[in-house]
Amino acid sequence: MLLLAPTVLALAALTVYPGVWVLWLSLQHRIPIFEVSRFAGLDNYAFLAVDPRFLNAGRATAIFTVASVALEVVLGLTAALAIHAQRGGRRLALSFLLLAWAMPAVVTAKLFEWLYHPTAGLINVALGARSLNWLGDPGLALPAVVLADVWRTMPFVAVLCYARLLAIPAELYEAAQVDGAGRLATLTRITLPMLGRILLVAVLFRTLDALRAFDIMFVLTGGGPAGMTETLTVYAYRALFQTLQLGFGSALSVVVFLLVMAVAWAYLKFLRAGTTVAA
């Protein structure tokens, strides 16, 4: 028990206590610059129900999460299969991928801001000297942010899948060969089913990360243009620290928190159900 005391103490002071405090804050009107501080009950939450900006942020969060997780899984799986099929240079191949993953998200944002530059950006040059305003066009900004996030986090999915591929017993493939299974049959009957569980785990981790993503859109677009890339997290942050509505911003934070926990809970239930069926 003594061994755990520092852990329990640290988590209680820096995670649980603020977690309860934020609930309390979310029930208040608190705007420090106007010296407003009073109990508001559920007013902040009631306001959310009719707040168009909140609905818009929910939409941006949903699109961002679904699009980036889907792309990451497809690309990550493809990359893992490709690296696994390599005979040499696997380490170097992994290095190229991990490079993208290991850098701070703020660096990724700066990298892509430069790539998206309307006149000198590599992307427009590659598209044949087009002058698309990636970060300024309301129709392009969210896809542009998704692309930057996919670039940064797809390697995570790839590494997980690759490690799982290494652990598939060679006998399975030999047996398939003896049975005369072709490449496609081997892929769909052996490889993909063996990857099923790790893919679910990867989707869980990535969904949780995408729901609370902040750095990439905050630095790349600041939520703009016209709120197109303003996710719930960015909205919450701006309410807290730019318009200084401590109570209302906390209510938004609580919503993000509940969303993340609900998704985590649903996945865990789903994973556990999957295990029982498999067993």
């Binding site: 002071a13 990359a79 390599q86 991990l98 701070p104 670039w151 490690a163 630095v219 942050y237």
Partner: protein
């Protein structure tokens, strides 16, 4: 029969490597940009510069907050890693090896706190930092970073400790070693690779963290690298070359870790996801 197959294999290898090298183009393009003369930055094509220059690095090192920020990040990330390991190692050992009442609940709490969104605690932590006068200090950042690195550390270390055969510990106990002795002479040496993996991930987390660092820092006294980069000043125009140089400096530790310590990094990443 065999030879052509091998040749196709090699060709395939080259194609895959080429594709993955292309994947890293955003990074290499920024690297190239950081050495491009100012006048050629906005004139693309040509893609390659006429000459390479260190001017952007000179500006970043002599006139920006970046050198100070690199020092801050190095200090905060190192201290966070150490603190998370010092607190987390005994905790992980208890979770992995000792019978505890309410262990399942505790594990659940640890897993739940790895999923905790930072935005959920940033407002109370801000008030807490202000009340304790910890804003704009290393100590404040180390504390909040540790609160997020700690669950991850325990999660990973508990898994690695379970991999250490319990018989070796029992043998040491029979030889008369106490809990501390077992820890020092048996567990830690066998755990070294796992400790390295865990430390790397904790370090990277702290080095890359932006939301808290951005909120709790005010000046060069504690601004970390991601914050300094996000706030990189431009007077009339965006200084693309200087930003490129600054982002390359910000990437040095992560890139070194990927190149030199890749094995430990991958092991930690996979362990974090696979353990029940």
């Amino acid at each position: 029969m065999r030879r052509p197959a091998r040749r196709i294999g090699t060709l395939g290898d080259v194609v895959v490597l080429g594709a993955l090298a292309a994947y890293a183009i955003p990074f290499f393009w920024q690297l190239l940009t950081s050495f491009k003369p100012e006048a050629e930055l906005l004139r693309v094509p040509p893609l390659l510069p006429s000459r390479l220059t260190l001017a952007h690095y000179r500006v970043v090192i002599e006139q920006s907050l970046m050198p100070q920020a690199l020092g801050n990040s190095l200090g905060v990330a190192t201290l966070t890693t150490l603190l998370a390991l010092v607190i987390g190692l005994p905790g992980a050992y208890a979770v992995a090896r000792l019978p505890l009442p309410g262990k399942r609940l505790l594990l659940l709490a640890i897993v739940a706190s790895t999923a905790f969104p930072q935005i959920a605690t940033v407002s109370p932590l801000y008030l807490l930092m202000r009340a304790l006068d910890l804003r704009d200090t290393w100590a404040g950042l180390v504390l909040v970073h540790t609160s997020f690195a700690l669950p991850l550390t325990i999660w990973l270390l508990a898994g690695f400790i379970r991999e250490v055969p319990i018989e070796t510990e029992e043998a040491a106990a029979v030889d008369g070693a106490g809990l501390l002795g077992i820890f020092r002479w048996v567990v830690i040496p066998l755990l070294a690779p796992g400790l390295a993996s865990t430390a790397l991930l904790a370090f990277l987390f702290s080095w890359n963290e932006f939301l808290f660092a951005y909120t709790f820092t005010v000046s060069g006294a504690s601004r970390t690298v991601p914050v300094a980069l996000a706030l990189f000043p431009g007077v009339f125009e965006v200084p693309w070359g200087d930003i490129a140089a600054a982002s390359m400096l910000a990437s040095v530790p992560p890139v070194l870790i990927v190149i030199v310590l890749q094995r430990f990094l991958v092991r930690g990443l996979v362990a974090g996801a696979v353990k029940e």
